[in-house]
Amino acid sequence: MNRAICVNTWRQFKSNNVRLILLTLMILLPLGGTTLMRCNASVAVDDACLSPPFIATLFTLLWGIGVIGCERQHGTISLVLSRPVSISRYVFSKWLAVSIAASICSVQALLIEQFVSVVLSPSLMFNTEFVANGLERVLLCFSTASVLIFFSSLVTGIKDLALIAGVLFAGQLVRSFFEPLTYNSGHFLGLSQVPSFIINFYKACADAYCVFLYPNIPVADILNGSAEFFTYLINYTCVITVSLSMAIFFLSRKEYSYAHE
């Protein structure tokens, strides 16, 4: 890891007022929601009403959008790479910078929510859900950051946001087309039966797609014994490794100019 690149990434974020405002909102809005729910008499006393671990994805998006693409767009990446810094080290440092920052923010948001819950209901002091939620958030930040780094290495500026939206939209289109097959005994629109290998192939692709876009380890389920730890661990490690490797590959193949792209 290159400390200078990490610190510079954090400082880049700090200099962007829009992102800072969004970050504040993302901490305050779930907190407001939690507080209102806790104040609601219909909520059980032992329900912490913590926001789901998924929110860590939003924190990562906020920190990671355009993390490499913006440097490419402004041409500052070429000056960094003119120094004795390899592309793999650069990518790794960017990944760590985004992951660590997003983890701190999402855990901080969780801590505040937990604090409010404990104030309103002291019995929630030793809530295990809180620990599992926090751990899941941190894991999600690291994996989502690697996927974002991959998308950011493909395009300039913050076009990676559009790219992710496009991938999600395309996924939904494919899903709406193929999904009826999976619960209709292979019959499509009442016509002839679709070969099972197509259905199996679709299911495999859909699984890979979901794992790639939401690479989490459901810590709470694993602790309950309702999920298989090793399957999730392998998927999780694969997503990080493949995403970062692809980012390094694409950045290595690019030519750099020192002007705005």
């Binding site: 400082r11 000056l79 003119s82 120094r83 810094v85």
Partner: protein, 339 residues
């Protein structure tokens, strides 16, 4: 020496102190670089070499391929064929990058950074020792004569000239052995241009090897040992600027005191003197008290001036109409146009 070892340790690269003499310097052999799937050939078999301690100028019209050549030498651009080595290593090798400084023509900055932050960031990226950071960066900022009031100012408030000075400082931040400069004085005010000239002179005295791409021919003439002309992606001419050109025809602009009572200086008199010595009067101006005369050699020029003075013409100034490099450039451009 201790400092150099610390740097190498920090950057995780082997020490660059020991260099194979045969492979040292920058060598470019038959470099071919094209864009748009080979439709546009930016570099067409460029070969050049820069010996350690040598200053090489790069001259050519816009679009000749000079910046592309520097991009390839930095390892930013991939070339189709040919080879570039810097001290025997590939340009994108981390060891090479540790010993090369680079100043692009239009440097882009993180606009929120202050000048000092920017330099500190690059100092850290180079793996220079942290304890020397403050001292070395301030020394560089002083060297490029950036106003100390601007050191803590955001880069977005900098003028073009200030950015260029800061860029020059970052090129020197790793204490490079080789320096690639792309239009270092671009956008600078006259004082800035003088600062760059003084810096280049200092770098030469320090024995630094550098490649200077500039449209300011006088800057190249003052700073470089050798110059290479590039046109349409090819090296078309090479000039050694440290050898005297004694027998090259050159047009001199000779001025004299316009109000002399001793002798009436007219075109007939000047033409007669010039013709007697084998020179040619190109232009004569009575009102401006000067004439343009083409001489065949330096010796002929000396004889001409002596004869004019002996004839009572109060000669005050003799300057070549075009400097040596300007003349070579004009010659090459006219050849290129003829082609």
């Amino acid at each position: 020496m201790v400092e150099a070892e610390q740097t190498a340790e920090q950057t995780k690269v082997p020490s660059t102190e020991v260099v194979d003499v045969a492979a040292s310097g920058i060598n470019v052999v038959n470099l071919v670089k094209s864009y748009k799937g080979g439709k546009v050939r930016a570099l067409d078999g460029v070969s050049l070499s820069i010996k350690p301690g040598e200053a090489l100028g790069l001259v050519g019209p816009n679009g000749a391929g000079k910046t592309t050549l520097i991009g390839c030498m930095m390892g930013f651009l991939r070339y189709q064929s040919g080879e570039i080595t810097i001290d025997g290593l590939a340009p994108d090798d981390l060891v090479t990058r540790a010993m090369v400084g680079y100043l692009p023509e239009r440097l882009t900055f993180d606009r929120w950074m202050t000048g000092r932050d920017f330099l500190h960031f690059h100092h850290e990226l180079c793996g220079r020792p942290e304890k020397l950071r403050l001292h070395e960066c301030e020394e560089l900022l002083r060297k490029v004569e950036l106003d100390p009031a601007a050191w803590s100012m955001a880069v977005r408030k900098y003028s073009r000239g200030m950015l260029q000075r800061l860029g020059f400082a970052q090129a020197l931040v790793n204490k490079p052995r080789y320096l690639l400069l792309d239009e270092p004085a671009s956008g600078m005010d006259p004082h800035g241009v003088l600062v760059v000239q003084s810096l280049l002179r200092g770098l030469r005295q320090d024995g630094l090897t550098f490649l200077l791409n500039s449209h300011q021919l006088d800057q190249i003439e003052r700073s470089c040992d050798r110059v290479i002309f590039i046109q349409k992606g090819k090296v078309v001419r090479e000039e050694n600027l440290r050898t005297r050109e004694e027998s090259v025809p050159r047009t001199m602009c000779i001025s004299w005191l316009g109000y002399s009572d001793e002798v009436l200086v007219d075109s007939a008199l000047v033409s007669k003197i010039a013709t007697e010595l084998g020179a040619t009067l190109e232009q004569f101006s009575q009102t401006e008290a000067n004439a343009s005369i083409t001489v065949g050699s330096e010796a002929e020029c000396a004889r001409l001036i002596k004869t004019m003075v002996e004839a009572g013409i109060p000669v005050t100034r003799v300057v070549p109409e075009l400097s040596r490099l300007q003349k070579a450039f004009v010659d090459e451009m006219s050849k290129g146009g003829a082609k």
